[in-house]
């Protein structure tokens, strides 16, 4: 009798549903594992923002913040050795302000302005941001830079 019952169960594929359910659980587990693995990211955006800030300040200070720097014709990209095309590709932003005795005398703003807002929001998706201040004689430089470049698989 018992043998007969087992046979019947086998013929009716009672365990097929359970088999697929366990398979589904395994697949979901593997997918979660892969997502965690692929979401790992070497984040160098903060470092990039620091490098841009350093290059900007060097570009200004090398010219000793003279009249040339304050003129309209001054090209900060050339002075700081920054590639204008890359900085304006939407993944970078910088704001450099020059103060003389606490009075703003010149501002340079380039790149994607949205990044400045995202930096203030401080979410997980915020770009790498860097702020610093430098004193040079009676002048002061305020620099804010941001990088959102994560790189990509091709």
């Amino acid at each position: 009798m018992k043998e007969k019952m087992n046979k019947k169960a086998y013929y009716s594929y009672d365990d097929v549903g359970m088999f697929f359910l366990s398979f589904l659980v395994i697949i979901v587990g593997i997918i979660i594992g892969l997502l965690v693995f692929y979401s790992q990211n070497y984040d160098v955006r903060q470092e990039e923002a620091k490098i841009i800030a350093n290059k900007l300040v060097r570009g200004i200070i090398d010219n000793e913040i003279n009249d040339k720097v304050l003129s309209k014709d001054f090209n900060l990209f050339i002075a700081a050795d920054l590639d204008q095309k890359i900085i304006n590709n939407g993944e970078y932003f910088f704001r450099l302000e020059i103060y003389e005795q606490d009075k703003l005398i010149k501002t340079f703003v380039e790149g994607n302005r949205d990044l400045e807002i995202f930096c203030e929001l401080k979410t997980k998706k915020s770009p790498g941001c860097f702020t610093s201040e430098y004193k040079y004689g009676n002048k002061k430089l305020k620099v804010f830079t941001a990088s959102a470049q994560k790189g990509k698989n091709v």
């Binding site: 013929y11 398979f23 892969l34 070497y42 160098v44 590709n89 698989n153």
Partner: protein
């Protein structure tokens, strides 16, 4: 009577066969998906390309830089990739690192310089010479 039993048996056999094929196909697919990232190649590609990009961004014209790629070559050989593992395109400031066939990771450098590069496969090293971009070239790029 015999015909009916034969039909029933063949139905069971077909069912089992289809079921076995489904399980085998699933297992092979899952194995493929699990083994590919197991090589860690894409993570290393990302790490190396960003390391090279930061090095170039920090460099000044006139500098000569030597980067050891022992580990990168080890991973590429393990994945049977024998092409150029690093490619630098000065026209668009693009660096590509590839450690596995058909894949690669791209990162851009913002330093306005040209990079003369040489990949020494025997010494497993990348030699970089950072040079100034001439003004005409600079203006052309910024247009």
């Amino acid at each position: 009577m015999n015909k009916a039993r034969y039909k029933k048996k063949s139905e069971i056999l077909m069912g089992t066969l289809v079921f076995t094929i489904i399980v085998v196909v699933f297992s092979i697919g899952l194995g493929y998906v699990i083994i590919r990232p197991g090589s860690n190649a894409s993570l290393y590609e990302q790490a190396f390309v960003k390391q090279i990009a930061l090095t170039i961004d920090n460099a000044d014209a006139g500098m000569e830089i030597e980067i050891s790629l022992d580990k990168a070559y080890g991973i590429a050989r393990k994945n049977r990739f024998y092409g150029n593992i690093v490619v630098i395109d000065n026209n668009v400031n693009k660096i590509t690192v590839r450690l596995i066939n058909g894949q690669g990771y791209v990162h851009y450098f913002f330093n306005d310089v040209d990079v003369i590069w040489n990949l020494d496969k025997e010494k497993k090293k990348l030699f970089l010479k950072v040079v100034e971009v001439n003004l005409e070239e600079n203006e052309r790029k910024n247009e």
